[in-house]
Symmetry: D2
Subunit: 342 residues, 4 copies
């Protein structure tokens, strides 16, 4: 089959022929890829930013946002059958550790992360596990929803945590209305009654945010802190959801937070730097977010099937991977890029 | 009456004669002080560290950890009567804002903080509100428990948050076994079944920690991270409770945290500085803690009356305030210092 | 002033002239009534059903769903001013007991319930407390929202509890789409993404339910259990919200509940009767609901101001109280009856 | 091997020779039984009370509280190895349904219950699943802890739910200090700071309760409601944990409950019968409890290894099953009966 393989950090991945994956364990599942989402993390991987955290051996196949159809299953698989349309939870997990037992798969003590630590889905076929596949409503096409497997799941997971404290009358500020942010806004709209304020540097992204349900949009033109405080009567937001996580976004976010509020860290790259006296005198919280659980993904697909979440995408043939990467890197990519194998 | 008054930042407070406080509102309560705790925050106030946050006009009376007996009440007070033994919640709150309604008095939109923003309890009498006084079991003497009003309350509040995720088999690491820390350890012992590991630079403090219920004590001699990771099979702690909040303690704490764990910030002075990629890749949380609620204080007094929490104290006459401050500043003060008016 | 007074159980109340209420305490508030809701509980009171629970002395003024304008305040009131539009939380509470401190005013240890245990709002003026008044957005007219003070609050309170377990993909069954039920459906729509199934004996009530956001409506014609089970693939509902609480509704509700589901008891009159083996073998819960908290009422008014909850009402002049009662009793009353003083 | 088999309802089970269980699936685990607990449910099964709920085909092997050593594993089992000491969670579950994913195994959509719906552990060997075995600290002997697999787990599960609302100063009333109750008391002691009041008809059981940590014991001699109300200043208990579930216990329990309190149903046999007006006017809850989760069992074993929970047992050889049953039925059995195969 064809696969997009990284041979060397800081070099372009290569689209090349490799052997198809094979069933080796009783719970293995092989998925014929219908769509695989391109993510800013793919850029970070190529740059070597995940080298030590993932410990992957090169070359390997990229692609961690995958959807398609079940093509082969191990001897003990009963939850899906060949031909089922599925979206693939990003992690292969053991099912036996405390984290898996608690439904908190992201912290599985023996997990693999296709596309990051083992071969991923920029290919004709992906090998994953029965524990990772979510059977889809037949109304959903893999290429339309693949990016929900990671980008969407991450946004949903963070919003679901925030939603617990977003009762009627509260305010959620979203920083960054891009690939994850535009899904986060839709999830906030679906799960909460909070007033949603979206901050971004792009007027275009803000226009989309408004269309997707933002109550107020604020251009990050240097006055964003002042504007958000005015919109919240000087109090700030109960929830600050940061899809950027670098540059001025972090200091902005802290400044926009209400006493006892929570700052949800999703985007990454920068450094969180806050005097402890500011943390204790306002009793604020910082909440890390890492992808999401299997049941989060099921819930997100329920919202998607109900029309409450929709992705903006641009599709590319698998062979055009490096074009898609170039478009992402240069800001030309509209919405989320989806690779579709022939 | 006699009172300890701060006339100028960076100068010693003066013990001087001032007018007794008077009832002016229907919910006012005047407490004859039986004991008032000395706190490291008093040093910080004198140094000017709270100048802008408190906005207090000098001179004013210090003392924010107060207990005594009700000596006079406003016309609408029904929850206490003259003569009742009481401990005083540190804040005077409105009772009408959302935070007060939710029992989250620390975030009252119209609060005063005696000893910080208005006259405090290093004096014969303190003026507070009916909403702030907790009636005590007559077995408790004000001078023995005064420091629970703030130091104890802060420790209890943070431990109570942490206790929600400390099921049997989990680990709590306490950094700092001093004034707050030694109460925090007792609260952890009372509220949880977690394994308690205490880290401190003082062998003496660790000996006390052990006596109060720590399962393991670790001297902060440079090997503390390694030792804590060994004690937790390399995983780290579900809860990291930091009573220091400055110097190397913060970086140590982050390194000792388990995936999905929470870091409770209580001590202050330093800067929390963590790359966002480390926050998201392990999905950790930072939780601010500011004193505690009125019901927290009631619960803490229940534990104290039951013998589950006891303070280590050294008493001083009110007139000897500057001696007590000197002892605190030079590390000579054993346990918590308590000022007792004549 | 004019007031609707109950002089004897099982007799019609009398509209008569009484003295205006007077401010006697520092936190008293007198409200000029703009609208007061008529409730099935008023019928139950007249029938004597609350005689022992309320211990009220006859004669007294009925009316426990009140809204209007502040006309006079006690000396210590600062949260509202004369002229403010307000809705009145049904209870006068102490603010000092544990329940009040926790925001759980319904369980105040020293409360009064105007219209039930002391004089209520079917009159020109009502005496209540500063703790009970919610200042309203000026866009809301007292006569349009008065019934939210109790009927609406009760529905919101129960739905808010249920909402915690109603993630995307779950099912909520509402039994009874009448005065409370039609508000409950709107609250479910606003707070959750659950599939909403409404069961009622009236096709007209079901038509309204559909319009307000029900996904499915089921006529209670004897096949309702079967139909609900079919609509839930045989599993039943995660939440069963029973606004009827008598007759066959209870047994129906239990039969429609999913394993580990919760049955919210709101309507009353009948007897809950379930073998304990059925409770443990499916691990179901029964959750009592009593009016709601002050902050629940604030949140409900936020939803109302945002257009997410609207009441169906019929207004009557205060003098026509017995006509309104007759219409309620004979099923002629469309929506919720509102008494409006001249 | 030898096994205790039920051939006919209302007849004594027979100890007879049957074939050893065999590994057929990749996640199967065969446990050599070291101890299997006898439970009142075994009596109920023989009486036919579970006939329709379990749908089991006779003859089959009883025994649903099992511990021992792993003797054989399926090809995909990695969490235990042959020779490991294990306690067996009572259910064999799928691991793929929403309930399993949420760690709520009791509501697995495709479970089997050895000893109830398939062959159990009153035998030399038991076939279960990798998902059901908890690896034990080698300090724990199967015959000493087997009954924790179900009786203990059930008590722990209910107490863990109750513990969430048992802050310092609250009261838990335990009805029934027998097989489950005496473990429940120890769990309450370990997990909470609540005042524990135990009600039982047996002075002997109460003496044990006292020794295990009860603060007060109350003989159920007809005055128990009055006594409990006196012990709680007339308020009643925040949590009522009913290990009896039949006879007068239920009405007693409801009468002993504080406003907004919760009644935990564990024992069964009787009928819960409460007027809905009593449920809503005090806002009380009834909480069903069914065995417990896998992680509950892990936590309970942690408490047990730490010496915080210990079982009172009497052992019998497997062949003496009918003697043990007779002793249980006639009240001669001290503590929990444990069958030990040769």
């Amino acid at each position: 089959m064809k696969a997009v393989r990284l041979h060397q950090y800081l070099k372009h991945p290569i689209v090349e022929e490799v052997a198809d994956p094979k069933i080796t364990g009783p719970l293995d599942v092989i998925v014929k890829i219908g769509g695989a989402g391109l993510c800013r993390t793919d850029l970070h991987i190529i740059e070597g930013q995940w080298k030590e955290k993932s410990n992957v051996s090169l070359p390997y196949t990229l692609g961690h946002e995958n959807a398609g159809w079940v093509s082969e299953v191990g001897s003990a698989v009963t939850n899906v059958a060949v031909g089922d349309t599925v979206i693939v939870h990003p992690l292969i997990t053991c099912g036996f550790c405390r984290a898996c037992r608690a439904g908190d798969e992201m912290h599985c003590e023996a997990s693999a992360f296709p596309g990051i630590s083992v071969d991923g889905g920029f290919a004709n076929f992906l090998k994953t596990s029965a524990r990772a596949v979510v059977k889809l409503d037949s109304s959903l096409a893999p290429k339309d929803i693949a990016a929900l497997a990671d980008a969407g799941l991450t946004a949903y997971h963070a919003v679901k945590k925030a939603a617990k404290s977003l009762y009627p009358g509260t305010v959620a500020v979203v920083i960054g209305a891009g690939g994850l942010g535009h899904i986060g806004i839709q999830c906030l709209r679906a799960l909460t009654t909070a007033k949603i304020i979206v901050v971004d540097r792009s007027a275009e992204a803000l226009a989309l945010a408004k269309e997707l349900g933002a109550d107020h949009t604020v251009l990050a033109d240097g006055n964003q802190r002042k504007t958000v405080l005015e919109l919240t009567n000087g109090f700030g937001a109960e929830a600050l959801i940061d899809f950027v996580g670098e540059g001025g976004a972090i200091a902005d976010g802290v400044a926009m937070l209400r006493r006892a509020g929570s700052y949800y860290v999703i985007g990454y790259g920068g450094i969180l730097e806050v005097p402890t006296i500011d943390i204790i005198s306002t009793e604020i919280n910082f909440v890390g977010n890492l992808v999401g659980t299997y049941t989060d993904l099921v819930e997100l697909m329920t919202l998607t099937a109900a029309g409450k979440v929709r992705l903006h995408t641009t599709t590319y043939p698998l062979e055009a991977f490096n074009d898609s990467l170039h478009d992402l890197d240069t800001g030309k990519l509209q919405g989320r890029g989806i690779l579709v194998p022939a």
